[in-house]
């Protein structure tokens, strides 16, 4: 019970026996905080990701939810090794890639691609769409110019873009179309893992639905594995097989999607779910039963002692203020870090 939380947590049980594509073990990423204009002295650090262990199983869509500042984007950049962790290990297809250099990682880059939130700033405005999508192939000298061009056109068609628009520039496209360009660019290297960081949150609802459907179709067609990051719980539910909930640099709960939404174990998950507005006439009644969290997310530079959620938790007791709860299995395939679990019968 009082196992120090930073110690290793056994890799989380896989529900179907599927093998992991990526294993993340005890990963920590601290960013130094400096004061002073140029070479200020280090003034503590922001614990963006603070001991996270999880597995991304081959063929699944793992959702990652949490509020801004919880470390979900940092975790994504660690999984894709755009950042090097302060400690912990990242294993890709059985190989430890934690400390690989950029050069050594290069062949891996085609396997792991990202889709970004903002389709406006993630596309080079001075290059044609065809050049943007085909760039990864060009860099790797794959095929001839003509075959690359054909491949790009095929993919444009597949993601719902008009191949005739090959020579247009990003500004000539709407937000939804630009996101399709980003998706085509990610798919061109036939990746195994796609890390999508808030891929639909900048889009209008009617367009959001188009992109979500596209991502689901592509997943089965190209046998993709997704790490899907979003703050919108409705969206995450829609695409994910399993969902991990993050709070202040830690995973507080991870479970199969239906189980999590039906019976959350961690009070943070419970509060997060109850805060989601639903477009129903009974929304008003829901508001009355809502758990409104007091205060704000504490600064990740100085996380509270014990359970990080305790200052905002309505179930908090003395033990929560001193002992950090470990992430332990609560139900089959469902783990949560909490001293007073909900929805688990006994206790």
């Amino acid at each position: 019970m009082s196992r120090p939380a930073l110690s290793a947590v056994a890799p989380l049980p896989a529900p179907t026996g599927a093998e992991p594509l990526v294993e993340v073990r005890d990963v920590v990423k601290h960013f130094p905080v400096r004061r002073g204009v140029f070479f200020g002295r280090e003034h503590g650090s922001v614990h963006a990701v603070d001991g996270v262990s999880l597995e991304i199983l081959r063929g699944e869509a793992l959702g990652l939810v949490g509020e801004s500042g919880c470390g979900k984007s940092t975790l994504a950049r660690l999984v894709t090794r755009l950042l090097e962790p302060t400690s912990g290990t990242i294993v890709y297809e059985g190989t430890d890639i934690t400390t690989w250099s950029r050069r050594r990682l290069r062949p891996l880059r085609r396997d792991v691609q990202m889709i970004f939130q903002d389709p406006y700033s993630s596309l080079n405005p001075r290059r044609t769409v065809g050049a943007i999508i085909g760039e990864p192939l060009r860099i790797r000298h794959v095929g001839t110019k003509a075959t690359r061009r054909r491949r790009v056109r095929e993919l444009m068609e597949r993601v719902g873009l008009n191949p005739e628009h090959y020579n247009r520039y990003p500004h000539e496209f709407s937000g939804g179309q630009r996101q399709r360009i980003g998706i085509a660019r990610a798919l061109i290297t036939t990746p195994k893992l796609i890390v999508a960081d808030e891929p639909v949150s900048a889009l209008d609802v009617s367009i959001q639905a188009q992109i979500l459907n596209l991502l689901k179709d592509l997943q089965s067609e190209f046998e993709l594995t997704y790490l899907f990051i979003a703050h919108d719980l409705n969206v995450v539910r829609h695409v994910s097989d399993r969902v991990a909930v993050m709070y202040l640099g830690r995973i507080v709960e991870l479970s199969p999607v239906d189980d999590l939404y039906a019976k959350p174990v961690h009070p943070y998950t419970e509060a997060l779910l109850s805060a989601v507005p639903v477009p129903e006439t009974k929304a008003r009644e829901r508001v009355r039963g809502r758990i409104v969290l007091g205060g704000d997310v504490p600064s990740p530079a100085a996380p509270p002692p014990g359970c990080r959620f305790h200052p905002r938790c309505r179930y908090a007791t003395d033990v929560c203020r001193t002992v950090e709860p470990p992430l332990v299995p609560r139900r089959e395939g469902h783990v949560a870090a909490f001293h007073h679990p909900l929805n688990v019968g006994a206790r």
Partner: protein, 342 residues
Amino acid sequence: MALLEIEDLRVHFNTRDGVVRAVDGVSLTLDRHETLGIVGESGSGKSVTALTVMGLTRLPNAVVEGRVLLDGVDLLALPLHELRRIRGSRVAMVFQDPMSSLHPLYKVGWQIVEAIRAHGDVPKDVARRRAVQALADVGIPSPAERMDSYPHELSGGMRQRAMIAMALVLDPDVLIADEPTTALDVTVQAQILDVIRRLQAERGAAVALITHDLGVVAETADQLAVMYAGRVVERGPLATVLDAPEHPYTWGLLQSIPRLEAGPQRLQPIAGTPPSLIHVPSGCSFHPRCPYAFALCPEIVPPLVLSQPGHDVACHLPPAKRQAIGRRLRSEDDASGGLAAG
């Protein structure tokens, strides 16, 4: 007579690329104790409507037609110095991004005090007491200390509370909130919506809540107006519009939202993209994306007419047919678990 009446409002902007028809014939009414939700996607004209009510579209390249009546006085016809007296004291606005609407170099308290003193000869210490009270009212802990904070020292949720405090400190009759929670996390959004609901219940102000999120509207508004390409396509009591929507665009919106309760079935997006406001489609501007469009739709703009008491719809489909389709879509939704207990 309603407190605020918007009559056939048109706002067109002359730009290098052509005339942008941002608002194209919008009529809305808002009464005391009432919350009107205005929903629509980007470019639907909801924000420009709000800005025009505040007199913030008086620009050299803007052509504004129609009337905005506050207690019978047309705000569009008022000279600027008179409008300024009304702005803030009788009609106040909260914007989406509190960081860009608070001055970064002045303390939060100073900015609220200034708002109070701009509208009346109030002694500084009295104004300060009122500002502290306003911060306390929106649920800011230790408000007296927060008076001396700069905007960057507050979190996003606290900044938005400070904005609401500033908007409400002069007890306006109308509060316009333009996407007040869009930049915030869900748990903080829940807090802010709570504040808006509570203050409205206490003070009886009329609230216009502009959002793209039907969920936010569902838990806050009494009346609902759905906008598309500069026009209101459907409006009525919240329950009617959500439970028995009659406009194909509203159907599309409701169907394209992923829901917590629903299983992960396929979403039904609206085909195509929202139109450019420079080249608005002829007739009903939704017709290129509407699966039910017929010969009349590209020809004539459908007027917003009464379908049932209090429920107006701008669609050429016969009401009986619309209601039948609406019922069918609803029951399909039910069958697929879209309305399971929440």
